[in-house]
């Protein structure tokens, strides 16, 4: 199907060139990276930018770098590249695991993690991982560079803290220093390509420090601070797990849509939290990092 309206296309070679174009065109410009969301949006919605700025010509944005304990993921790094990166798998296993659950290979070969957070659909699989690792989003415009904490990034369904003229150039994530385990549990309607009906990411250290985040269970992905506060310093037993599950209702606000009802999402989120907590705990000591564990299907 053709795209019914016309637009210009430009492919800058440097970040500076790109931000100058974005400054000139303002809200009439749209950034194109992997395109797996934006081309569908161009076909199916009234979205009609005057110019598409394809950033795939900017080589410096395609790198994964890890130095001094900080991981930098460029805006052009695809989910497949993240999955294949030993650096990511070893040091940031939750990003690896969440990436393996995104869509299918043909999409992951093209779709970028930065594009995922810029599209900012509530079900985004990268949300919980980036929230528990407390990533920074690196944004540049023609007046300079700034960091936005991922906790301030998501402002609503498909809405972010990005401003006119901004280009997200990448993500920065500090490697956690304590020995830890992680787990991302995603519920799809079946095994295979599907958006999350619910997702939960858990990070737990040997000394029982917890970080927990949910996606697809509210307008934006969220950190479950009150559950973390309950669990911090405690090891997991049946009593504490039940208390944690009770608190889930205070953290999430699921809706009913084509994929699931809000009642079902509320119920399954508790089950998933328990499984993710136990799995993350188990992985503190297990060397082999298992592949993702989609419920259902």
């Amino acid at each position: 199907m053709a795209i019914s309206h016309e637009f210009e296309y430009i492919k800058p070679k440097t970040v500076n060139e790109a931000v100058d174009i974005l400054a000139k065109y303002g809200s009439k410009a749209s950034i194109l990276a992997g395109g797996t969301d934006i081309v569908v949006k161009l076909k199916e919605t009234p979205f009609n930018p005057e110019i598409l700025v394809d950033i795939k010509g900017i080589d410096e944005l395609s790198k994964i770098e890890f130095s001094n304990g900080v991981l930098k993921i460029g805006a052009l790094v695809t989910f497949s590249e993240l999955i294949d990166s030993e650096i990511v798998k070893t040091n940031f296993p939750l990003i690896h695991e969440a990436s393996t659950t995104v869509a299918s290979i043909g999409t992951r070969n093209r779709a970028t993690i930065v594009g995922n957070i810029c599209s900012a659909v509530p079900s985004l699989d990268s949300g919980p991982a980036l929230l528990v690792y407390e990533a920074d989003v690196i944004v540049k415009n023609n007046s300079g560079e700034r960091k936005i904490s991922i906790k301030d990034w998501f402002t609503g369904p498909k809405k972010t803290a990005i401003k006119e003229g901004d280009l997200v150039i990448g993500l920065e994530i500090k490697k956690p220093t304590d020995k830890h385990g992680t787990s991302y549990v995603k519920l799809g309607r079946y095994r295979g390509e599907d958006l999350a009906q619910a997702g939960v990411g858990v990070f737990v250290t040997e000394s029982n420090n917890y970080k927990i985040s949910f996606c697809a269970l509210g307008p934006v992905p969220v950190r479950a601070t009150i559950i973390e506060n309950l669990l911090n310093g405690k090891s997991l037993d049946e009593k504490i797990l039940n208390e944690a599950k009770e608190l889930v209702e205070k953290v999430i606000s699921p809706i009913t849509d084509i994929r699931a009802s809000k009642e079902y999402r509320m119920h399954i989120a508790k089950v998933m939290l328990e499984r993710a907590l136990l799995k993350a705990k188990e992985r503190i000591t297990s060397v082999y990092h298992e592949t993702h564990d989609i419920l259902g299907g």
């Binding site: 795209i3 016309e6 081309v39 076909k43 290979i105 043909g106 295979g192």
Partner: protein, 150 residues
């Protein structure tokens, strides 16, 4: 109109496209390679899967202009020197009925076998999770791919 170059199945071709032309349409209608099909037209069904710079992608989700100076291989290119072992297995095991999904599935399965000549059934299912088949229930397709194991 912009002039672009695409290396399609080993042959460098020049053509004119509009920025809003979809790669799938251009490959089929302007370049004459008819194996990629338009199914869902939104990146879910995998019928339009091609290799772009050696990686499987959904060509309905890509603008033709993005493919300027890039290398594309479709099913036509894959079997240029005769059928691959995988294709022979697909034929001998009656893997497909209508065949609409076959080009995309062949590309996805070829990518899997190139990277992982000894896949488990789960690996195969994961590799095909972005390709829908409405005829077969998948079993004869999975069987054929599994029979290609080294």
């Amino acid at each position: 109109m912009s002039k672009i170059h695409i290396i399609l199945n080993g042959e460098r071709r020049s053509l004119h496209v509009e920025p809003n032309d979809i790669l799938l349409d251009v490959i089929r209608d302007k370049m004459g390679a008819k194996s990629p099909k338009c199914g869902c037209d939104r990146g879910d069904c995998g019928a339009c899967t091609i290799f772009l710079n050696g990686k499987s992608v959904k060509s309905c989700n890509i603008l033709a202009i993005e493919a300027d100076e890039q290398e594309i291989v479709t099913l036509e290119g894959l079997s240029e020197n005769g059928l691959t072992k995988l294709q022979e297995k697909f034929i001998n095991m009656n893997s497909f009925q209508c065949g609409f999904c076959a080009p995309g599935i062949t590309i996805a399965a070829t990518e899997l076998l190139n990277h992982n000549p000894n896949p488990t059934l789960d690996d195969v299912k994961e590799a095909l999770s972005g390709n829908l088949c409405r005829c077969t229930g998948y079993t004869p397709i999975l069987d054929a791919i599994m029979s290609c194991k080294k």
